[in-house]
Symmetry: C2
Subunit: 159 residues, 2 copies
């Protein structure tokens, strides 16, 4: 096998240095760490927690609103909402002026859970960002913004 010559010619894909891969591994590890805050104690899944997070911030959203804000698809939202309603953590009411739409909000029980988890999540974020200088935190924000904008354009015109 004349592997040296071929290696020189061929584009080299080193997974350990491939940004999309590193991003994915990092993101999964962070998500897992956050999930540990609420899955053990409250049996919440990631979609469930995300829904509670947006409802904790804004009451009366429709499922569609929630889907947009959490970047989840409507099926995922429908299922997670069903389970949250079942657990009496979320209240679902039919919209007065449009019977297709449901208005979602945290129940008192849901609010109590939210109030317990939100500070923990924010604290974990602090600990994580504590690894960075103030400047790096600003950079990270700017960089993520730029990457999100770029990937957004790619999504529209695949190729």
């Amino acid at each position: 096998m004349p592997s040296d010559a071929k290696t020189l010619e061929r584009a080299r894909l080193d997974l350990e240095r491939f940004v999309p891969y590193k991003l994915s591994v990092l993101s999964n590890r962070v998500s897992d760490a956050i999930a540990r805050l609420y899955s053990d104690r409250f049996g919440l899944t990631i979609p469930e927690w995300r829904i509670m997070a947006v409802l904790g911030q804004t009451s009366g959203l429709s499922a569609r609103d929630v889907a947009v804000r959490t970047a989840m698809d409507k099926v995922q939202v429908s299922r997670a909402v069903a389970s949250l309603v079942e657990a009496k953590r979320v209240i679902r009411e039919v919209d007065e002026s449009d019977a297709r739409v449901s208005r979602l909000s945290l129940s008192a029980r849901g609010r109590a859970i939210y109030d317990e988890i939100a500070p923990l999540a924010l604290h974990l974020e602090d600990v994580l960002l504590g690894a960075l200088t103030k400047e790096e935190r600003r950079d990270l924000d700017a960089i993520m913004g730029k990457l999100a904008a770029r990937i957004g354009k790619l999504d529209v015109i695949p190729g």
Copy 2:
């Protein structure tokens, strides 16, 4: 509802500004964009492609080696390898000195697919990073390294 007073007291978790959430959304979008390069044309899943990527770089790895390098668990590797072997894209041979271990490598067919996808993946990475200045690219690398190190420590001692 005395929402103003309560909001001031309560820690504010705004999903749109929560770094773990933004990281997750960005990472998923990037992964989806990459996946489009190989799922349509070759019917590869993400785990399958990751395995081909490490085998394209290093032949003769065991399933365990692959699992470590791709940050996947052994079940996922076992299944994806089975499907790759079935499709004759990967060759599995029993290790000579330890019959528990299988030695994995790309077949000629697998190599051809790898040689087609790898440049596309690298190109997509280039396009993505093209949104950043050279300095920002260095920053991103440093920042991801620091965050990975920090989250690694949290994983060991959860709490």
